[in-house]
C-alpha cells in the first residue's frame, strides 16, 4: 500500500473535515492511471490540504481486494469521513463523483 499525503504532514484521520481515500488500481492500467489523476485534481481543487490518498495495486495485493470486495478497478473508497462510499470507474464524470463523495455545494 503506498501513501501519498498531499496535505500537511500531521494531517491525522481524526481531524475534522479531513478526507481519507483508498484507490484500488490494477497495475498501470490506463483507466487506473486516469482515475488517480482525476482524484488528485479533484482533491486539490475541492479539499486543499484536507486529504490523504492511499493506493492499492490489486495485482500485487489481492488480499486487500478480497478484504474490501474489490471486483472492478479502478475503485475508490471514501474511508473518512463516514459513511463509507465506493465509486467505480475512472472518475471522469466529475459532477457525479463530487455528488457521491458529498463534495458538491456547501463543501466548496
Amino acid at each position: 500500500m503506498s501513501k501519498s499525503r498531499n496535505g500537511k504532514k500531521n494531517a491525522g484521520n481524526g481531524r475534522r473535515g479531513h478526507h481519507l481515500f483508498l484507490l484500488f488500481m490494477a497495475g498501470n492500467g490506463p483507466n487506473s492511471k486516469k482515475a488517480l489523476n482525476n482524484l488528485r485534481n479533484l482533491c486539490r481543487e475541492h479539499l486543499k490540504g484536507r486529504f490523504t490518498i492511499e493506493t492499492v495495486d490489486v495485482v500485487k495485493d489481492f488480499q486487500a481486494a478480497v478484504k474490501n470486495n474489490i471486483l472492478v478497478t479502478p475503485a475508490l473508497i471514501l474511508v473518512a469521513p463516514l459513511p463509507r462510499v465506493m465509486v467505480l470507474g475512472d472518475l471522469s464524470d466529475l459532477p457525479k463523483v463530487l455528488a457521491a463523495l458529498r463534495l458538491s455545494g456547501s463543501e466548496l
Partner: protein
C-alpha cells in the same frame, strides 16, 4: 463432426455420462460455456466439475456472481459434497463476487479486481480448474455490448494464460433477442458449448443436455436427458451405454418348476423378460413368485411398482400364497412405488438408478410397462424403458417387466405396447382361453433368446398356494426327446 484430427488434451469431468458424450471430457486449459435457463442446473454442473476435480487432485476456484458462497456450500451439501472441508484442505476456493447495488459508476472500469482475487486464490491452491458461475450477472454492469465483448476477451485471455480448464455459466432467456446476440459472441469465444434445457412436455418436467460445439473434437450430437441424483448430475447417453451390455448369464429359476421346465431351466441372468397378459391373468403373481424364490436364495430384488401401493401389493400377493414380508424384512426385497405421472420419466430413471446403485439388486421387477405411458407421452415411456433396460443390462441385472396387453389375443406387436421389443430377450404370454363352460388361463413362451423353450400353451391356475400347473408342463421339444430317451434307458 467426427474428424480424424489429432485428439486434443481433455479433462474428464467424471459427471456420470457426460464424458462419453464429450468423448473424454472438457478441453484442457480451454473455456467451456454452459448455458441454460433458470433452474437448468448450470451451477450444479460447475460444482460437480470442481468437486470431482478436487477429489481427483485438481484443485479449483469457484467464482459466484449471483449466489452467496453459503448458498453454494448448501447446494453442494445436498449433493453430498462438503465444500467447507475441501476449502479448508485447500482444494477449492469459493469467491463471492457479488456487486453491491449501491455503488456509483463513473467512467471506464474493468474486472481486474475480480481477476486479481481469482488469480490470487488460484495461485494459493494451485488451481487447475475454474468455474465462473452466472457470468451474465457480471456482464450486466456494463450495459454496453462493446465493453462487454472487450471484457470477455480480457477474461478469456486471462483464463488461457493461466492454463485453467474453465466453465463459464450463463443464464439464457431464449425469448430475449438482445441476449441471444450477446451469447452468440460467447458461443464463438468458448471452445466447447453445452446447452442445458429444462422444459415441460406433457405436463412433465424434463431436462436435456446438448453439446452445441466442441473445437477440435467430436461429440455426441443428440439431446441427452439428465437428472439431479443424490451424487450430482446423471446423464443418460443411451447409444453409448448399449455397447457395454453384459452377455446373458446362466439360468436362474423362475420360482416355478413348471415354468423352469418350459424355459429349459429358467430365465437367463441379465436378460430382459417381458411378461405380457390381460388384467387379472397373473402377471404380478408370476413376477412376485420369481422375486420370492430369488430372495429365498439370498439374492436381492428391486421391485418398481407403478400400479399399486406397497401395502396393496403385499396383501394382494398374500391371497395367492406369496408372503413377501419376510423378504422385505431380510432386506432382500426392496419395493419402490410411485405414481408414473409424479416426477417425469427422467426423474423415475434417476430414482431407479440410485436404487440400483445403493441396493445393488440381482434382479429388477417393473410392474407395469403399460403404466409408464402415464409418465407423459409414449415417447417419454419409450425413452424411460430403453434407458432403464440399457442401464440394467449394463449392470448384469435380470429384469422382469410386466405389461398389460390391450387385446385378448395379445398379438406380438402389442406385447410391449411401446415398441421396445428389440431389447427384450424373453417374452412370456399369459392369456385367458374361453371354453363353453369356463375361462382358463394359459401360459406361452413367445420367445427366449439364447435358450430352448417349450412351444406349447400350458394351462395354469392361481390358487392360494400360488401359480400351479394342473398338467405337468412339457419341456422344449428337443429336451423332451432327450428326456424321453433317458427315461427309456432307465
Amino acid at each position: 463432426m467426427h474428424g480424424k484430427r489429432r485428439p486434443i488434451p481433455k479433462v474428464p469431468t467424471q459427471i456420470a455420462g457426460l464424458d462419453e458424450i464429450l468423448e473424454g471430457g472438457l478441453p484442457r486449459g480451454r473455456t467451456t460455456l454452459v448455458c441454460g435457463g433458470p433452474g437448468s442446473g448450470k451451477t450444479v454442473v460447475g460444482l460437480e466439475f470442481l468437486c470431482r476435480g478436487a477429489m481427483a487432485g485438481e484443485p479449483g476456484v469457484f467464482v459466484t456472481f449471483e449466489e452467496r458462497a453459503e448458498a453454494i456450500r448448501l447446494n453442494a451439501r445436498s449433493m453430498g459434497w462438503d465444500l467447507a472441508a475441501m476449502e479448508k484442505a485447500g482444494k477449492i476456493a469459493i469467491i463471492e463476487a457479488r456487486f453491491p447495488q449501491v455503488e456509483v459508476l463513473s467512467g471506464d472500469f474493468d474486472i481486474q479486481g475480480m481477476l486479481a482475487i481469482a488469480g490470487g486464490h488460484a495461485k494459493r491452491i494451485r488451481a487447475k480448474r475454474i468455474v465462473m458461475d452466472a457470468l451474465d450477472v457480471l456482464l450486466r454492469i456494463y450495459n454496453d455490448l462493446n465493453r462487454e465483448r472487450n471484457e470477455l476477451f480480457r477474461l478469456h485471455d486471462w483464463l488461457i494464460d493461466r492454463k485453467l480448464t474453465s466453465i463459464l455459466s450463463v443464464k439464457t432467456h431464449h425469448d430475449n433477442v438482445k441476449h441471444v446476440s450477446q451469447y452468440e459472441f460467447l458461443d464463438f469465444m468458448a471452445d466447447c458449448v453445452i446447452r442445458l434445457d429444462h422444459r415441460v412436455v406433457g405436463q412433465v418436467a424434463t431436462r436435456r443436455l446438448r453439446v452445441i460445439k466442441y473445437r477440435g473434437s467430436g461429440f455426441g450430437t443428440n439431446e441427452y436427458p439428465y437428472v439431479f441424483g443424490e451424487r450430482g448430475i446423471v446423464l443418460f447417453p443411451l447409444t453409448m451405454a448399449e455397447l457395454t451390455h453384459q452377455p446373458l448369464g446362466p439360468k436362474v429359476s423362475t420360482g416355478l418348476k413348471g415354468l423352469d421346465l418350459m424355459l429349459d431351466g429358467g430365465f437367463r441372468r441379465a436378460s430382459c423378460v417381458l411378461v405380457s397378459g390381460n388384467s387379472g391373468a397373473g402377471k404380478t403373481t408370476l413376477a412376485c413368485t420369481f422375486a420370492q424364490a430369488a430372495c429365498r436364495r439370498g439374492e436381492r430384488v428391486l421391485s418398481l411398482n407403478f400400479e399399486e401401493s406397497k401395502e396393496a401389493l403385499i396383501s394382494g400377493m398374500l391371497s395367492a400364497g406369496i408372503d413377501l414380508r419376510p423378504s422385505i424384512r431380510a432386506r432382500k426385497l426392496l419395493i419402490q412405488t410411485a405414481m408414473p405421472e409424479s416426477i417425469g420419466s427422467d426423474g423415475h430413471l434417476g430414482r431407479t438408478i440410485q436404487a440400483l446403485d445403493s441396493f445393488k439388486p440381482n434382479h429388477l421387477i417393473l410392474d407395469a410397462v403399460s403404466a409408464c405411458l402415464r409418465m407423459g407421452s409414449e415417447r417419454a415411456a419409450f425413452d424411460f424403458m430403453m434407458r432403464l433396460i440399457s442401464v440394467v443390462k449394463d449392470r448384469g441385472v435380470t429384469s422382469i417387466l410386466t405389461n398389460q396387453a390391450k387385446s385378448s389375443e395379445g398379438d406380438d406387436e402389442e406385447l410391449s405396447g411401446i415398441g421396445f421389443s428389440s431389447v427384450v430377450d424373453a417374452v412370456i404370454q399369459l392369456r385367458f382361453v374361453e371354453t363353453d363352460q369356463e375361462v382358463n388361463r394359459q401360459i406361452f413362451v413367445v420367445k427366449s433368446r439364447g435358450s430352448a423353450h417349450s412351444n406349447r400353451r400350458q394351462s395354469y391356475v392361481i390358487t392360494d398356494r400360488g401359480i400351479e400347473f394342473p398338467d405337468r408342463p412339457r419341456p422344449p421339444p428337443d429336451r423332451a426327446r432327450r428326456a424321453g430317451r433317458k427315461d427309456g434307458r432307465k
